[in-house]
Symmetry: C2
Subunit: 360 residues, 2 copies
């Protein structure tokens, strides 16, 4: 039986990537070592590390004046590192509040600066993207932070806020590499790896050079982007195996047509799933405004919540795994990242239609 894993993260990885990792797990390229056993200062690992960065730069067309950092601590540690590094003597930053992950970023930033909530969608239960002409930006803000894709709420931006000279900061944890993005429009992009990049334990930061080097020297050395930028992410031992896995994913993306091809596939998958929800005569419901629906995380409820348990049990029996929604939203959530094949979504839709016709 084919297994399709709809986990929101850690999440499905490309089968070919796992097969390659398995084949070379004990002896990488005849070195006699597992990647996990390699000194991070040795030529073998240094090559893996440099190739991963080069491939990511190519895939995302990252300009030369941006640093790529491979860090640890997840988006949660970035919630502190961003104000530490980007306030640059200012006392206030703008944040858009569009869901659970925005709220976490805001909550942590409030420890370190004044947070101006420039936009919010809480008036309609976080189910839409606030139009840009309603944003109340502060021209003196140190930066503007937003969450292009809300993993829990399933709300995704289809546009990039134009914040002029104020650096734009984006938590792309759950939609990085899923669509082309103009990196030059951002001051800083960050992402936990465990959704669309690789295994948990790696955090990617892409930061414009002029924003590096302004952290207060009294803060922890490890929380200063300059520490890592000056040492090519090798100030301390990096999470070498996670970076190697991310590198394999980058190569897989390149082999499969890059991010443009990925976007087309992601649109096809999302369209198929949303169409099934919308055609179910209300048996299934996605509360998100149609124009703002996420291509990555599809939350939906059953009309009769008493059927949730049966739905999950039967889905599981068919190899459709990890569909339970986040406790704050309830119902179901299907995360359909790059590595989820179209066949997985087809299998899910087939099951959903069958379940609806039995119980509708």
């Amino acid at each position: 039986m084919a297994i399709y894993n709809f986990s929101a993260g850690p999440a499905v990885l490309p089968r070919e990537v796992l097969q390659q990792a398995q084949a070379e797990l004990i002896d990488w390229h005849g070195s006699g070592m597992s990647v996990m056993e390699m000194s991070h200062r040795g030529k073998e690992y240094m090559g893996i590390h440099a190739q991963a960065e080069a491939d990511l730069r190519e895939l995302m067309a990252i300009p030369a004046n941006y640093k790529v950092l491979f860090l640890q601590g997840g988006a949660h540690l970035q919630f502190s590192m961003i104000p530490f590094n980007l306030l640059r003597g200012k006392s206030s930053a703008d944040y858009a509040n569009t869901g659970e992950w925005s709220k976490k970023a805001i909550g942590e930033a409030k420890k370190f600066c004044n947070v101006n909530v420039a936009a919010s969608n809480t008036d309609r239960n976080c189910t839409y993207v606030p139009a840009f002409d309603t944003w109340k930006l502060d021209k003196d803000a140190a930066y503007v932070h937003y969450t292009p894709n809300e993993t829990i709420g399933g709300v995704e931006f289809n546009w990039i806020p134009n914040t002029g000279d104020v650096p734009l900061v984006a938590d792309m944890s759950s939609n990085i590499l899923s669509r082309p993005v103009d990196v030059w429009k951002f001051g800083l992009i960050y992402a936990g790896a465990q959704k669309n990049i690789g295994p948990a334990g790696l955090t990617l930061v892409i930061v414009r050079e002029d924003l590096v080097g302004h952290a207060d020297p009294r803060l922890p050395t490890m929380l200063d982007y300059k520490t890592h930028a000056d040492n090519e992410s090798m100030y301390n031992t990096p999470p070498t195996f996670a970076i190697y896995m991310a590198g394999l994913v980058f190569q897989w993306l390149k082999k499969n047509g890059g991010i443009g091809a990925m976007e087309r596939a992601n649109i096809a998958k999302a369209d198929l799933l949303y169409a099934a929800i919308d055609a179910s005569n209300g048996f299934y419901n996605c509360p998100v405004n149609k124009a703002d629906r996420s291509r990555m995380n599809v939350p939906f409820t059953l009309k009769d919540a008493n059927l949730d348990g049966d739905f999950l049990k039967q889905a599981d029996a068919r190899g459709l795994l990890q569909l339970k929604g986040h406790r704050s939203v309830g119902g179901m959530r299907a995360s359909i990242y790059n590595a989820m094949p179209l066949e997985g979504v087809q299998a899910l839709v087939g099951f959903m239609n069958e379940f609806a016709s039995k119980h509708g």
Copy 2:
């Protein structure tokens, strides 16, 4: 040809552990998922996580009033987290300076408190452990920090400082699990995983409960031990695959007689190597005071440094890898952690004797 990897870290892992990881890399126990693909909130991963902690508690006989935390950021991030959490309103901490890693810990702590260097071995180039009766401890210190094994200098404590009511803090990155340790004598033990535990990207912290909960709430949430202690290391997504690998290593340790058996094997390996150095009539030299020589990291120089290149090249050709010493010490360094088999040290000693008789 057998390959023996003497890297100081990331370092050799037990062959059986790598084989098991390889066998279940794509489909863990019939789940249809790689461990890397599992939600950290799912029953499969939760089981792996709990088992790893239980096995570690058993191996180290960790008392019930200690928390075990699986964190990220390495020893370097602990250098900040320790003063943040353990100062508890005090302004000063005692540090023993016994080498490069002590110095790094001291340098970072100086950002956050007064550091009293209670003991130092810099008068003899960091080649010995200062006798405890020479330590100038401050009875009002918030804690006493030391480095039981200096990975670069190859100096190891064979005793535990008795600091009375002042909590003792130890960076055990390079000798944890290599010998039995009375955990109850410590306030906090920490270790980067990439030497004797598992892959890089995981940091282990064992902390006495009464020392948790005193961090300044204005500091980053992620740097407060309480955040992680209250959430069983799942406040945010943990480095799941690294924890799984550590768990396999813990099971391997249990299968092979536990830490007591490991210590006997480590003594045998270290004795063999140091004996070869000392019997070489000065062809090889280890500068470390004999009573304080590390069982884990064995630095040695060649009498004629012009032969260093030949030594490394020939060693490499025999599958004896990563023997180059740290740039601050020069010469060679053989790291012989738990996962290095006796055969590896025998092969190294065989080569060293042969090389010496050719060039001596």
